[in-house]
Symmetry: C2
Subunit: 340 residues, 2 copies
């Protein structure tokens, strides 16, 4: 066994956050790695994912998944390499992805592995971003729920983020005018320079509502909403008849217990015959592969670009979610684990 005496660093949840999880809600434990049982695989993680949705995964507020238990390893998608296998479906050296947690090594039943990552020209890290749930979220949310048509105006919030930047680029591929909303001049600039949005709005700048109006001279046909809050309030005012609002995330809302108040939306929906639709990408696993095929082809054609914010070392994991909500990152946030 190559792993004799190797310890596993695990980032575990030690307290139930009230709102956004902070570094102090986690601890890093060193634990021995048990023997691999029949049917199991041992995966050496390479990249750990950091998602805005993790706020919900650790929340006690009713949600779409059971909260991570106190004392448990933080739930996370990872990319790793099989280093030991007692399952005929996996061989040492296979690259895999799945909910393998914030830890150096994951010892799991093979069913926990989501899929093997085929040898490809694209980096394995993409399996956590544009070729993972972020890309699947952008693809399904925009195309299946937003149903954009050429010539329509698509507005995206958190447009510089992993999901938002992908949404904007797919909308452009479909022939739409794309308007990205991001926080700060640097992210707004990135939306134009890296992701090709037709117009961007920096919601931290004075007069951003006027900038939004100017960016949408023909109104808004599709709003891909990652924020809720005052950003969404301003977009809702500009909906066209028949508009579709895709509710993907609520990054601007620090806590939903109790729900914050804001302008009621019913009149917009009624007068504009508009639709607001929430979704959770895990419900649509049957459509992920098709999304990855599309997006991989668009990456190779230079039509979809992505950006990664890689932090070196598992010791960065505890503060990584809070950092997302502070807006520290540019692009998909990943934790890279040294393979030495």
């Amino acid at each position: 066994m190559i792993l004799k005496n190797t310890m596993n660093r695990q980032v575990v949840l030690v307290s139930r956050p009230d709102g956004i999880p902070q570094a102090s809600d986690f601890a890093i434990l060193q634990t021995p790695i048990p023997a691999v049982a029949d049917g199991q695989v041992l995966v050496r993680n390479i990249y750990l994912s950091v998602e805005p949705a993790m706020r919900g995964w650790v929340s006690a507020v009713r949600n779409y998944s059971e909260p991570v238990a106190i004392g448990a390893v933080m739930r996370s998608f990872t990319v790793g390499r099989v280093v030991e296998s007692r399952n005929p479906g996996y061989r040492v050296g296979d690259h895999v992805t799945g909910l393998l947690g914030w830890q150096d090594y994951a010892l799991v039943d093979a069913a926990v592995v989501l899929r093997k990552i085929d040898a490809t020209d694209l980096p394995v890290s993409t399996a956590l971003g544009v070729l993972g749930i972020n890309g699947a979220t952008a693809h399904y949310g925009l195309l299946a729920l937003g149903t954009p048509k050429a010539g329509e105006t698509v507005v995206v919030s958190t447009a510089a983020g992993s999901v938002g930047s992908c949404v904007g680029q797919i909308a452009a591929i479909k022939g739409c005018r794309t308007v990205g909303i991001a926080g700060g001049a640097r992210k707004a600039g990135l939306c134009r320079s890296a992701f090709g949005f037709d117009a961007t709005v920096d919601y931290k700048a004075d007069g951003w509502q006027q900038a939004l109006a100017a960016a949408c001279p023909q109104g808004v046909d599709v709003y891909f909403d990652n924020t809720a809050g005052p950003i969404s309030d301003a977009v809702m005012e500009r909906l066209n008849v028949g508009a579709r609002v895709v509710v993907c995330g609520t990054a601007s809302v620090p806590s939903w217990d109790p729900a914050p108040i804001g302008p009621r939306v019913e009149r917009h929906l009624l007068v504009k015959r508009a639709r607001m639709q929430g979704f959770v990408i895990f419900d649509h696993a049957d459509q992920h592969e098709a999304a990855y095929r599309d997006i991989a082809a668009w990456i190779r054609a230079g039509k979809v670009k992505y950006l990664e914010d890689v932090q070196q070392g598992i010791e960065h994991a505890p503060d990584a979610i809070a950092g997302l909500y502070r807006g520290d990152n540019l692009g998909k946030r990943l934790i890279h684990i040294d393979q030495a």
Copy 2:
């Protein structure tokens, strides 16, 4: 000409209401009836309709239709009888319906007439209610947007009203558990006794939120929303995964300028993968006839009942909308014009 020297009483808008139109926003004028020109018909109105939506029709706030002009006859569906025709498509004695306005006589181009009402066993007044836009609204909104499935729970607000009562009965026909929300013990009682709701909630009674919870032990799959406001807030808390919210009206909100505030809905939509969809029934005229056929058959089979609140005399029209918002009526409010 039978109408020589006959004067036409017309209810005209004299001021732009701020919120709900009051009696003082209207005046009744006596005007002569011009000669019928080629292609026109002269219709003697029998019933005038009174709709909650009329609030929007007279509002200067951006809407789905041009506001009724100051000095113009109040826009309204009516049922009447052709008394003079210079159009080959209509004969004296034909019963017709259309946006013929709050007046004794409507002199209009034939194109303004929506349709002839076939001789039928059902009263002509139904063309303004269950066999008019109220029924079409209930049928389209519930079936096309709410997509109820047998065994699901359907909650309806303003459940004793013309639209709400029809929604509840159609949902029952489709095998759903039906929960009606209405204001006051009398209307709540009517929901059970006349319209057969499985459970009712009187939102004016203490502890109505608990009553709502008790009425929906399996949660809420479809919410047909005629009110918005605190009633909707309570229903949104109980949505099931995959729920559909049909936004039909906002009767509980006195003014949308500015929009009132309330709990934000995004988290409900996201966690429950739920959809909120607004609609305006005038967009779906191609589906009205099919709706009327269904509903007429259900009326004859005793499966859909309707209630009319008929006021005698056009002098009741000016206060009739305000009365709806006060909750004065039981059933579809109509103004009957004496045919003497």
